[in-house]
Symmetry: C2
Subunit: 153 residues, 2 copies
């Protein structure tokens, strides 16, 4: 994470991740955030399977964490403190990944303002988040699509 991205919100998200043993285990860390996309990274060594490439479950987990983090950050920026849950998740595994894991997540459909309005007026918002994970060269070893739900108190 570069210095310019080291905001209080990102530090809080990083602390959230670090409070979760399975996230510590895969050594996931925040690698960047530009307001639209959240990037996470994890080393291959902590996520390798019996074939020497990344375990599919780790690819899914890193994409899930990126999507969850993105939704959490955007709601916080809108002044909304609501727990966020993953409701469903689809992942397509394209090619084995023999390198460190680079994941990113972004809003797949709809817009943040409408979601925030839903959360304020109805106490609930649903967001479709796209994600991908690969070696960091722009190619995707796996692509994901997941729905996250935020609910006020």
């Amino acid at each position: 994470m570069t210095g310019s991205e080291d905001t209080p919100a990102l530090r809080e998200l990083a602390a959230h991740y670090q409070s979760m043993p399975p996230v510590v285990a895969i050594q996931a860390r925040i690698a960047g955030y530009d307001g639209e996309r959240l990037h996470l990274q994890a080393p291959l060594a902590a996520n390798v399977n019996d074939k020497g490439c990344a375990f599919g479950g780790s690819l899914s987990s890193l994409m899930t964490l990126a999507g969850w983090g993105l939704v959490t950050l955007r709601l916080q920026e809108a002044g909304l403190e609501a727990p966020v849950y993953v409701a469903d998740s689809n992942v397509r595994f394209r090619v084995p990944l023999f390198a460190d894991l680079h994941a990113e997540a972004w809003l797949q459909e709809g817009d943040w303002d409408s979601a925030c309005a839903d959360l304020r007026s109805r106490g609930r918002a649903s967001l479709m988040i796209a994600s991908r994970v690969g070696p960091g060269d722009g190619s995707a070893s796996a692509v994901g699509s997941a729905r996250y739900v935020a609910m006020l108190g």
Copy 2:
């Protein structure tokens, strides 16, 4: 795993799992196998999220491992040694899981004999595997459906 289920094939599968750092991290272990369903377990403590319940990524991972293990075992029983890959995965998260994770996987469609015949004749087989994970009382906190592909050298 009870003594009656402690076969050489299950010991080999357990060793496979133990060779994967992310699987060791979530403390997944084989809990039973009757030829049709493979059961895995993992402790909540190693898989807990910031809300005190099981991390969605861990639920997905345990179901993926159960499916992968089931396909690997059934192919081995048919005398086929082929690497098995997860091709795509869909998971629906129903309710938070505040207990140790119990996952099971079974064949969702088709039959094993046809898949083995495909693998022998065409060098490739595709299998749809259903899975679920919950507290071990028969209820499901998450349900999954995933396609696994096996390919001969």
